[in-house]
């Protein structure tokens, strides 16, 4: 059938299934339909519970009220979302780069590898909550650096651990084979270690992408420059504008999903042998 029908059917899961549609779009519908049904159903139950049960808005606002606020504040959400997104992105790239380089160094030198795991674990146990106010005092109140540093620290650990595992896991057959070709050192790293570690790197990046947004939002709860989603959530909540606070939480959620989806897309592009 034509692709036009595919698009309509994919966009509207309730549309009747056209005969002879491509496998791809049928998979898409099948993959999207259950979460959509659960999501819409969940929202309906939520709305009903709040309306019928007369739940106070400071406990739980109705989805319709949140949506209303979301629509009213859409330009602010967009602006603050961009600010938070920029912080998350810069922190993510910096943390991931340091994580990957540290993992390469740790896999190259045995001693460094043995020392680095406990250090990285300690860094991971470091509570971001404790760190944010300290960093905020270290820099100007107009600086975005504290939040970006917090994000990179949070991002570092999953990227480092996953990359290190990927670099260490070398198939013994691959090693013997490369020995038989008299290929060692950088040639071995370039042809076997790095491509073999790529799926692991992306597993780390995928975990890190959502964490980056969470860290960027939460870091703002503790002062510093107030131009992101986090500051709007706290100020709305302190003004008892709960539906508005929730609207910004939804904005943060969407931002996290965008980061995750981009990471997933990059993974598909970079490791074509796994997605076929």
């Amino acid at each position: 059938m034509t692709t036009a029908i595919d698009k309509i059917a994919a966009a509207d899961p309730t549309a009747p299934v056209a005969v002879g549609r491509g496998r791809r779009s049928r998979g898409l519908v099948r993959g999207l339909l259950p979460p959509l049904v659960v999501g819409v159903g969940g929202l309906a139950v939520w709305e009903l519970t709040v309306k019928v049960g007369k739940v106070a808005p400071f406990i739980l606002p109705a989805p319709s009220a949140i949506w209303e606020q979301f629509w009213l504040s859409r330009s602010v959400i967009w602006q603050t979302g961009l600010a938070t997104g920029a912080n998350a992105l810069v922190g993510l790239i910096a943390g991931a780069l340091v994580g990957i380089l540290a993992a390469m160094a740790a896999s190259r030198f045995r001693l460094l590898g043995e020392v680095s795991i406990p250090v990285a674990a300690a860094l991971n146990a470091l509570p971001i909550i404790a760190l944010a106010p300290i960093l905020n005092n270290m820099f100007d109140s107009t600086s975005s650096i504290p939040r970006r540093v917090v994000v990179s620290i949070v991002v570092f650990f999953p990227v480092f651990i996953n990359t290190l595992r990927g670099l260490r896991e070398v198939d013994p057959t691959h090693r013997e084979l490369m020995d038989s070709y008299a290929a060692s050192g950088w040639t071995f790293t370039r042809l076997v270690r790095l491509p073999g570690a790529l799926p692991f790197v992306f597993t780390g990046l995928r975990q890190a992408s959502s964490l980056a947004v969470i860290a960027a939002v939460v870091a703002e709860y503790f002062g510093g420059l107030q131009d992101g989603l986090g500051s709007r959530i706290t100020s709305a909540a302190s003004n008892t504008a709960y539906p508005r606070a929730w609207a910004f939480v939804v904005g943060a959620c969407v931002l996290g999903l965008v980061f995750y989806a981009v990471a997933l897309g990059l993974e598909r592009l970079a490791t074509p042998w796994r997605s076929r």
């Binding site: 198939d171 084979l177 038989s180 042809l191 042998w273 796994r274």
Partner: protein, 266 residues
């Protein structure tokens, strides 16, 4: 011309320590050019160790070893042999074609020549249509054929194989055996083939080297003369006689009384 010559070769792992293991002792073996030699024996008899010594993947402890008239290390650096293992060991991030190209790439062969040779090798193993596929898209038998194509890509005078068909089902295995013999005959490659299947060793080989463990050593060398192989060879009396000979050598029991009975039963 001699492809591989070993004399007085021994290998000791962890020498001088409490967990010292004598893996091989007093191995003398010559493989003539174009010959197909199988190494057979129970687990722990050192057949894989012997293959790795020839490949210079591990250093030998005693004796001398030459490959194509050169010391083993020089032969490895010159890529005088191709090697295939029980695991196909393909690089899953490279397409089939790029896997076969790898040894040529490491040799510094030009892009166009590399592609031509790799395609020729894939043609040889009957996988020309799968050049653009990734290894994960192939069956185990097809992956093993790619591994053989890769081992042959540099046109090595010697092919080393460590139970390459061990993980395959019987039907695929027999088909690949025939394919391997055809390729070896076509290219004039000498082969050392490690296996623990007696019929496989007899069917493929000009000579079957029988080994024994603790310490690993050669106990017998059995000449096989079945002429050009075909489907009928697998049913022939000579084939079964060869199997009986190898089996008896493996058991180390020269019992002539039961010989005829075993041939009839086999």
């Amino acid at each position: 011309m001699t492809a591989v010559a070993l004399s007085g070769v021994g290998k000791v792992f962890n020498a001088g320590r409490a967990d010292q293991v004598v893996a091989l002792t007093g191995v003398d073996l010559t493989v003539e050019s174009g010959q197909f030699v199988s190494l057979i024996g129970p687990s722990g008899c050192g057949k894989s160790t012997l293959l790795r010594l020839v490949a210079d993947l591990i250093p030998l402890t005693t004796g001398t070893l030459t490959v194509a008239g050169k010391p083993a290390r020089k032969a490895r650096l010159d890529q005088e042999y191709g090697i295939a293992f029980q695991q196909a060991g393909l690089f899953e991030w490279r397409t089939v074609l790029r896997n076969v190209e790898l040894p040529l790439e490491l040799r510094g062969t030009g892009r166009r020549e590399r592609k031509r040779r790799a395609e020729e090798m894939l043609e040889l193993v009957g996988l020309a249509d799968f050049a653009a596929h990734y290894p994960a898209q192939l069956s185990g038998g097809m992956q093993q054929r790619v591994a053989i194509a890769r081992a042959l890509a540099v046109h090595p005078p010697l092919l080393l194989m460590d139970e390459p068909f061990g993980a395959l089902d019987e039907m695929t295995r027999e088909r690949l055996q025939d394919e391997l013999l055809r390729i070896c005959a076509q290219t004039g490659t000498s082969t050392i083939f490690v296996t623990h299947s007696i019929p496989e060793a007899v069917y493929l080989s000009d000579r079957v080297v029988v080994m024994s463990p603790r310490p690993g050593r050669i106990t017998d060398v059995i000449e096989i003369d079945l002429g050009p192989r075909s489907e009928a060879t697998r049913q022939s009396a000579g084939f079964f006689a060869g199997i009986t000979k190898v089996r008896r050598a493996l058991r180390g029991t020269p019992a002539p009384a039961s010989a005829s009975a075993e041939v009839a039963a086999g």
